[in-house]
């Protein structure tokens, strides 16, 4: 958190995060936007559509919470289906590949510095964007 938080009486209320408002500010897919921080973790909103890339985060679990739409997280042995207000934690070291039919809005929570494509890299690797935080 901002080290000055406790000193600034106007800091707090200004840092309420309206998820719908944040999601209205961008349209690109597979490009998570940091909207808040929790210790050394980041809370991100993301819009996704279509199929991502198979990848693994070797060092961390990854939390998905679906806000709108239907998200499938493909694992090598099964598919996990998530509707709005459902959440799932992909355990560290488990290869996964999100896929959707239509557009999905979701919240991601993971340690700061996690790259969206994990070990896979490639064209779908998103630039770090905390301009909405």
């Amino acid at each position: 958190m901002n080290g000055d938080a406790a000193c600034d009486p106007f800091w707090m209320a200004n840092n309420v995060v309206n998820l719908a408002e944040k999601l209205s500010l961008f349209s690109e897919h597979w490009s998570p936007k940091v909207v808040a921080r929790l210790n050394d973790y980041e809370i991100k909103v993301v819009k996704v559509k279509g199929e991502f890339v198979w990848h693994t985060h070797e060092d961390t679990d990854e939390l998905f919470i679906v806000i709108a739409g239907e998200l499938t997280i493909q694992l090598r042995d099964e598919d996990v289906h998530l509707a709005p207000s459902q959440l799932f934690v992909v355990p560290k070291g488990v290869e996964h590949c999100p896929i959707t039919d239509g557009e999905v809005h979701a919240l991601l929570i993971e340690p700061a510095g996690v790259v969206n494509t994990g070990d896979a890299g490639g064209d779908m690797t998103a630039s770090y964007d905390d301009s909405f935080a």
Copy 2:
């Protein structure tokens, strides 16, 4: 996470968390229920109503996401008002006291072991409950 997760083909889909379903399983207020784990953090659902106690978490930030109802987080200098789909991080070391008019359903995310009443203790200190995880 469960260390056997990657070995059990049925483990994953069984661990989708439906927040509405979890919230339907209990009625008590101010008693967070762990529903999932993210590394050494816990994701909890909670129902709250009325006023809590003023307290501080000296060692950690605390994330609130409102699912239903209107939550006010009183701080010493101001009140923070949260509607559904809004989130707020109480920075570590900042004294706070949640208060509501009606019942509020919320998600809390914080490191494992955080006690709901922080440094304050007292009658509203909840027992640790991960029976829904």
